[in-house]
């Protein structure tokens, strides 16, 4: 493994961060503040700061091994950060500030309202599509049913009717999402039987049914064909615009990233090397160098216009 500081040592301009982005934090939903994550001697994330806004799609990109998924796992509580802070300003309840680095992973979803999907899809394969979406509403359904739910459903007296009503509404919410992702006709099929692209969309729908304020997607377009990628972009725009849920995504497919992101954060060796709107990032010499491993002037400014596939990167 390369020493993370090597590039910095070799190349002084790297240390100068792009001047533009720091003003945006006022309306930020998620604030990542000097996040550090070490695994033994390896520093995977090295003092990373960025923010994601409430009404935006924020993309986290970078070459392989840059630390994107590690950042994701810190935000969603699957790793406990070695240092720094992650704050969510106004989760479900509005004005509260949640310190995500102090919460358990399940509390980050259930209390703060941050939902995630996985790079390798993690559906409940042996349960039907509808059951997957019902499990996602666990918190709401158990709360609505009330403390007497178990006794009520068992006895069929009080609480029983209330639970059946809330279950019916849960099914309606699930069906609304199935309509949105075009899977209503597969509602009673096992989730593991769906084709790959459908499983991706189902996983997003399942995450959305936890009613998050921030949806974190780990490579949602991986393995999708161009048509499915376009559908995914539409779905993500719907989530941002109509459902008022902010999105943070890791993605290698630059056509998707440049198409839908409002704001792109570029990572390399666990540090932020660029931050701004897609047009800014695309032309940023630091980014081009990180991806292609050469000085900017050596290029015939091809990457600046060609939007896609700069992702091959260095070995």
């Amino acid at each position: 493994m390369m020493d993370p500081h090597m590039l910095e040592d070799m190349d002084p301009p790297m240390a100068l961060l792009p001047p533009e982005p720091m003003i945006r934090s006022s309306a930020a939903l998620l604030d990542v503040d000097h996040l550090v994550m070490r695994f033994g001697g390896l520093t995977a994330v090295d003092g990373l700061s960025f923010s994601a806004r409430r009404d935006e799609i924020t993309a986290l990109i970078g070459p392989n091994g840059a630390g994107k998924t590690t950042v994701f796992n810190c935000i969603t509580g699957f790793y406990r950060p070695s240092g720094g802070a992650i704050r969510l300003n106004g989760g479900r309840s509005g004005s509260d500030v949640y310190e995500l680095h102090h919460l358990e992973d399940y509390q980050i979803t259930s209390r703060a309202g941050v939902a995630r999907t996985f790079q390798n899809i993690r559906l409940f394969t042996g349960m039907t599509v509808l059951e997957n979406l019902m499990v996602a509403q666990h918190r709401r359904l158990s709360r609505e049913a009330g403390p007497f739910a178990i006794a009520g459903v068992l006895g069929g007296v009080f609480g029983g009717a209330a639970y059946l009503k809330s279950e019916r509404e849960g099914v309606e919410r699930a069906v609304a999402w199935l309509d949105r992702i075009g899977l209503t006709h597969r509602a009673d099929d096992p989730a593991g039987d769906l084709p790959y692209g459908d499983q991706r969309r189902l996983e997003i729908a399942r995450a959305m049914l936890t009613e998050p304020v921030l949806l974190c997607l780990d490579e949602p377009a991986a393995g999708l064909n161009p048509r499915e990628s376009a559908e995914l972009s539409d779905l993500l725009r719907t989530i941002r615009d109509d459902l008022a849920t902010a999105i943070l995504l890791i993605e290698h497919d630059m056509s998707v990233v440049m198409d839908i992101s409002d704001h792109v954060v570029v990572l390399d060796y666990g540090r932020r090397i660029s931050d701004g709107p897609p047009t800014f990032v695309r032309n940023d010499p630091n980014v081009i160098k990180a991806y292609l491993g050469v000085e900017h002037d050596e290029l015939d400014d091809a990457p600046a216009t060609g939007s896609a596939n700069v992702s091959s990167g260095r070995a």
């Binding site: 969603t76 699957f78 992973d105 399940y106 509390q107 980050i108 979803t109 259930s110 939902a115 995630r116 999907t117 996985f118 993690r122 559906l123 409940f124 394969t125 042996g126 349960m127 039907t128 509808l130 059951e131 019902m134 499990v135 996602a136 509403q137 666990h138 918190r139 359904l141 158990s142 049913a145 739910a149 178990i150 459903v153 068992l154 639970y163 279950e167 099914v171 069906v175 209503t184 509602a187 009673d188 099929d189 096992p190 593991g192 039987d193 399942r206 995450a207 936890t210």
Partner: protein, 494 residues
């Protein structure tokens, strides 16, 4: 099996029969010479393995001779018989599988599969109700066919015994079948229930409320359930972070701990000498009375042995308790908590990403499963009238677990059938006297009971690796309930 035939000759005879004449298909894709050669090789192999294994253990028997010293008796005939049996079995299975493979290649069987699945669904819906009616009518049927004398054997030894295991299996099914947490010490919760019932009814009830002593079982039943589920929670706390093999080992240790406490806490449990548990009463009316109280038979004017009446009453009590367990499980599967159990079995990380607190989900699975075991344990105590730690050894946990695994897919019907096979089968294997006709009068068939049962289990698991029930029934459906194939359902990682 005759004691004289050599392994290979027997195998080749079978090949001669099974080769072609009874095969109706005119276009037979089976490569018979190839299949027969493989079958012969397999037969020779297994025969020689049997000979090697049998060499000192079966072939030589040390018997006291005339002068009192040990004399060796050789039993080569028996070895040859065993080798022949093994050869025939492996040759047959090779022939069958070779033929079946060829048939499967020839005719892909997709055409009628949808009809078959709807047919199966109908069977799946109707079967439990037929089973329920059969269970309700079982004691009168037994009495009508075998008379009052046979009732003890068939209602108590079979009916009650099997239903106790059905209830235990349905309790464990919540932990293993639904939540996917492997528990090797489940019988400990039955022990907690049994001792709770006995100790409360002996020590607490007579001093607190002497008038209620006849109702001891009904009063103590909820206490047994609650105390057992406390024990379940007690177990769950240390194992919350463990998965798979590690979880299994800790549950095994927990089961042994409970048993050893029962063995060694002499002042409370009386150790191996055990305790006399009060017998069940008909809601206060005793079945037999030594002190001259009015008995059930006197009140209802029945001139019957109290044992028979009690056995029939016990049968209906355990049937009701088992049905209660099934009903609660069915209802809970539709609740958020039941779906969370199954989601936990499928993927724990995904559960946490959806905001499910896996700690409380695991706790609830252990607690509810243990509560049913506690009730079954209390029932066991009142049925036996006596308990000691011998009844709660690891073998019992293993049996209950085997029933759940054999049942498959967290299915209640599967567990019930598996309990009938396992427990009913063990009981039926007591009646092997006909084997004496083959092996001679010295042969003691009951000694081969467990061996035969083990063999049957191995064959069953080869035939149905995921249990008798091969599909999962979804907990909710939008339009039509479709069974989920076993290949998609996870077994749980702990």
């Amino acid at each position: 099996m005759g004691p004289s035939t050599g392994g290979d000759t027997a195998a080749s005879r079978v090949n001669g029969d099974g080769t072609s004449p009874d095969d109706p298909a005119p276009v037979d894709a089976t490569n018979w010479p190839h299949v027969i050669r493989r079958a012969l090789i397999a037969a020779a192999l297994s025969a020689s393995v049997v000979v090697v294994l049998a060499f000192p253990i079966v072939s030589h028997l040390a018997k006291p001779g005339q002068s009192g010293a040990l004399a060796l008796e050789t039993r080569w005939g028996l070895v040859a018989g065993l080798a022949a049996a093994a050869a025939v079995f492996s040759a047959l299975s090779q022939l069958l599988s070779g033929h079946r493979r060829a048939v499967a290649v020839r005719t892909p069987t997709t055409a009628a599969s949808s009809d078959v699945s709807t047919f199966r669904e109908t069977i799946g819906k109707v079967a439990p109700w037929i089973g329920l009616v059969a269970l309700l009518l079982y004691p009168p049927f037994v009495v009508a066919t075998t008379g009052w004398a046979g009732a003890i054997k068939w209602v108590d030894n079979f009916g009650v015994q099997i239903l106790i295991y059905v209830m235990l299996a349905w309790g464990l099914n919540i932990v293993v079948g639904l939540a996917g947490l492997l528990d090797l010490g489940f019988i400990a919760f039955a022990a907690v229930g049994a001792y709770s019932y006995t100790l409360i009814s002996i020590h607490v009830l007579p001093s607190v409320a002497p008038g209620l002593v006849p109702f001891a079982f009904w009063i103590c039943l909820p206490f047994a359930a609650v105390l057992a589920s406390f024990a379940g929670i007690l177990l769950a706390f240390p194992v919350l972070r463990l998965r798979g093999d590690y979880l299994a080992i800790v549950t095994l240790a927990f089961g042994e701990m409970i048993r050893l406490v029962l063995v060694n806490w002499n002042s409370l449990t009386n150790g191996y000498a055990g305790l006399n548990a009060p017998r069940i009463t008909f809601f206060g009316l005793p079945f037999a009375s030594r002190t001259g109280e009015t008995t059930f038979a006197e009140v209802f004017g029945l001139d019957l042995s109290p044992t028979v009446l009690r056995a029939i009453f016990l049968y209906y009590v355990i049937l009701a308790l088992a049905l209660f367990t099934a009903w609660v499980t069915i209802r809970l599967r539709r609740m958020p908590i039941g779906r969370a159990w199954e989601a936990l079995r499928e993927d724990e990380i995904a559960c946490r990403a959806l905001g499910l607190n896996t700690v409380t989900i695991k706790l609830s699975a252990f607690a509810i499963g243990a509560a049913f075991a506690g009730m079954a344990g209390a029932f066991f105590a009142t049925r036996q009238g006596f308990i000691n730690p011998k009844s709660f050894e690891f073998m019992e946990s293993a049996t209950v677990l085997a029933i759940v695994v054999l049942g498959g897919m967290g299915s209640l019907t599967g567990c019930a059938i598996a309990a009938m096979v396992m427990i009913g089968g063990t009981e039926l294997l007591r009646e092997l006297d006909w084997l004496k006709l083959i092996f001679g009068r010295d042969f003691d068939p009951t000694q081969y009971r467990m061996l035969l049962l083990g063999l049957a289990l191995v064959v069953l698991m080869i035939w149905r690796p995921r249990g008798l029930v091969t599909s999962r029934d979804p907990s909710i459906a939008l339009k039509r309930r479709k069974a989920v194939s076993a290949t998609l359902v996870k077994e749980g990682a702990g």
